[in-house]
Subunit: 570 residues, 2 copies
Amino acid sequence: MRTSQFFISTLKEAPSDAEVISHKLMLRAGLIKRLAGGIYTWMPLGLKVLRKVEKVVREEMDRAGAIELLMPAVVPAELWQETGRWEKYGPELLRFKDRHQRDFVIGPTHEEVITDVVRKEIKSYRQLPVHFYQVQSKFRDEIRPRFGVMRGREFLMKDGYSFHTSFADLEREYKHMYDTYCRIFTRLGLQFRAVAADTGSIGGTGSHEFHVLADSGEDAIAFCPDSDYAANVELAEALAPAAARAAASQAMTKVATPGKTQCADVAAFLGASAEQTVKAVAVMRTEGGFALLLLRGDHELNEIKAEKIIGEFRFAKDDEIVAALGCKPGYIGPVGIKADIPVIADRTVAAMADFICGANEAEHHLTGVNFGRDLPEPGQVADIRNVVEGDPSPDGKGQLGLCRGIEVGHIFQLRTRYSEALNCKYLDENGKEQIMEMGCYGIGVSRIVGAAIEQGNDDKGIVFPAAIAPFEVAIVPMGYHKSEAVKAAADQLLADLKAAGIDVLLDDRNERPGSMFADMELIGIPHRIVVGERGLAEGKLEYKGRRDAEAQMVDAAGIVALLQGKLCAA
Amino acid sequence: MRTSQFFISTLKEAPSDAEVISHKLMLRAGLIKRLAGGIYTWMPLGLKVLRKVEKVVREEMDRAGAIELLMPAVVPAELWQETGRWEKYGPELLRFKDRHQRDFVIGPTHEEVITDVVRKEIKSYRQLPVHFYQVQSKFRDEIRPRFGVMRGREFLMKDGYSFHTSFADLEREYKHMYDTYCRIFTRLGLQFRAVAADTGSIGGTGSHEFHVLADSGEDAIAFCPDSDYAANVELAEALAPAAARAAASQAMTKVATPGKTQCADVAAFLGASAEQTVKAVAVMRTEGGFALLLLRGDHELNEIKAEKIIGEFRFAKDDEIVAALGCKPGYIGPVGIKADIPVIADRTVAAMADFICGANEAEHHLTGVNFGRDLPEPGQVADIRNVVEGDPSPDGKGQLGLCRGIEVGHIFQLRTRYSEALNCKYLDENGKEQIMEMGCYGIGVSRIVGAAIEQGNDDKGIVFPAAIAPFEVAIVPMGYHKSEAVKAAADQLLADLKAAGIDVLLDDRNERPGSMFADMELIGIPHRIVVGERGLAEGKLEYKGRRDAEAQMVDAAGIVALLQGKLCAA
């Protein structure tokens, strides 16, 4: 391709409303053009990137045995009413009436439609399992679209749905898709992690998210650098400390701590560390009333985990705390309280000795407190906190680190959530009707483009992985319109690289070299060849990788092989 | 591909609501599945066909130098308000409000969006001409969707838009696209005609439709079998007869024609042919009042043509006719009328002698009537009728035939209709602002699938052109699950054909041969190879083309070359 026959339109400055680097760079590089909030035109250069992502996704889905079809974007409301999502889904679901006043949605996801297709098409266990997928423009009416294509309203998705006769077979396909997704993101050249995830509004049980790692990511992930373990911070298990509780070595002592209501302040005031303190969190359970949750002073309560232990709850109000403990918040603790107040200690707290906690007396704390001596052992010990950096990895293979990620894929074991609601049944070997087991598997195709740029960029612009760069190689001739020799060599190189199957762009614009270099770097082309008269005289070309600090002169004769080697290694 | 790894689901009977053959066959062959009125899921087999059409369209658009991008389906109302189409477009335009109560449409066409992109991106004559296109799912809220994908609500379009500094350059690109469209439809293996067309609601001047020829087509087309000439019947010019008017040979005579008010009846009653009669059509012009239009008795008035001659008009009411001519309808004519009533004669009428017409007296007609003797020469002679079969072709190259077609492509010279409304300007060589000239070019990608089936079908099902058949070759083994030799030979043939780049389907289902044959024929695969033990023993396979009456035995050794030859010739 030649720039003169393509459309490249770059900007010096990004529009001021772009918040994140990928959004800024996509606008500056001319990959997208804004039409309305969260709604973009994919310009020719951006579409090339999008199509490369789509192609890898499609190839791997086909290889995995999934079968492509294409469902309508416009879906009648009846199906969404059958599953109850018509009521449950928030205003992100775009609803409208057609000219006959019938209700429709623009499907943000297609569980209902595919289940409707399958319940009509598939009758027998002999036709199962089956996995259908599509690549489709979808719409989600985000209240505040932002980050360009990463949280847009119209976006391109790959969504796949599998149907099975048994949970075991669903689990097999789920694992197969897990592996397929790993292949896809690896082929796309992305640093990513598969993360155990909560299932959110799609429902069902068992789910993994696939995150592209980037400091700007919206999601916090706990991972083990020494293994495959990764989970959303909210879900990562905080193990009990490896060491058993130490023996008591101090006497319990009441100390005045005037005005110190936070663990960190109490610790500092007493010359201790926050890790020696225990905070008591007073809660009101929907069933059972008041309770105390104990956490180490520097740890955070994980409400999802706590809810699994004590059921639905809210934080206790000040007057409820005073009524239960006879003390105002800031100085409360588990010592000397009524025996009927349940105490749930985090695993870490349960292993502490000689700790500091509130004295249940205004402006006072206790030091040297020990379970079993100064207060009963906790009524219940459980994991009720968020993990922190350095916690042992739940798989026992090292210590957890924390990082941030951008969710680009999500796989779910839906089980019978939709097949039951839509009565999607098959006849088993005995001619008996059974509900199908179901999985679903999504990839945010357009979001991947943004995520790849969040992960790959520098002060010159985008650094695309070769697999999804708009072009793999840029040829920049010095004086294409002035030197016959340069023109001939550049044209020949273009032909040679094309013949070798390399996706190459020849910049034949009549621009200053600096401006051409800047554009080729901004749009993220991984390899650059400069064709100049001086080099040609010696049979040389200038090569520079996108991340290289310096260019180097290479033999013109070996250039195709050199580039093939680099592209193969990528 | 193997049927066991694909999804094929055929029906014996088509659902009763399918009206046309392509719709019936698409449902029976399992190419599509209905979700709602005019809204279909493209099942795996149908999607394969759709993608083949899309690929040919894309390849030829790229070859023609058009540049692909992808605009949003969801478009803010403001742009449609700027061009006035927000008000003008009927309820086919799906309008909705987003969660912030802002108005949007689902774009059924994208002139507004592309012009908005171009006015922001293109500033200089040096960046012109440019041609952008996209392939996109669109929505048009048809009041009565029907004929399956041929008049559906959600459909796949290729829409392209070109921008120019001059009308001459627009005309060059228009011609270039005309040729490109001919290449596309030729490659798709379709019988088609490019037809001069009215521009309809898109506006602008200069337009051709591309029709796939099929008896079931919605549009009537006049064409010349001996040349490229073709036009919508409404637009085809009816030339004056080649022969000059004959001399008068009869005296004008009043004859009683009781109860005969139609030309055909009058002619029959008088023992003459309808071609000897002249009918007078009484109209009221919006400006100028009453007038008489004269047509040969067997010809039809073309209101579009007439309006171009006499301006806006309606048919006169009975009392208006009596007031003007003193006679009730059925017996009116041009003889002896008031001199101030304008008479406009069709070209054919103007060349008639000794004709029969109404006498302006109830129950009477005149015979042997001649212009210049019995009444004045017509005030105006013009083409005001529809052409009929056998009329001379307007290009002078033969006689017109009539046929029916399905519109699958449309190209327009929009000129400045949109660029003016949206202020889409460039700076010319002198730094002066100029409005861009604009063309637009559409292809109904999904409609082509239906149209191809309307053109290609028989009592066994679909007969696809090889270019868009879901598979090029079907291998049907006799006893794949019983005979090792058959299985081995079929598997090897599958591998060999794949290696030769042929898109092949091996039917490895455990079904009766008759049922496999019927399915492969129903879904329209152009070539079929049967692998059987008896043939294998002699080194033979059975070959049958989809249209062939009989199968033939061919040498197994030469099968790849045989099929390549047939596919190449297609």
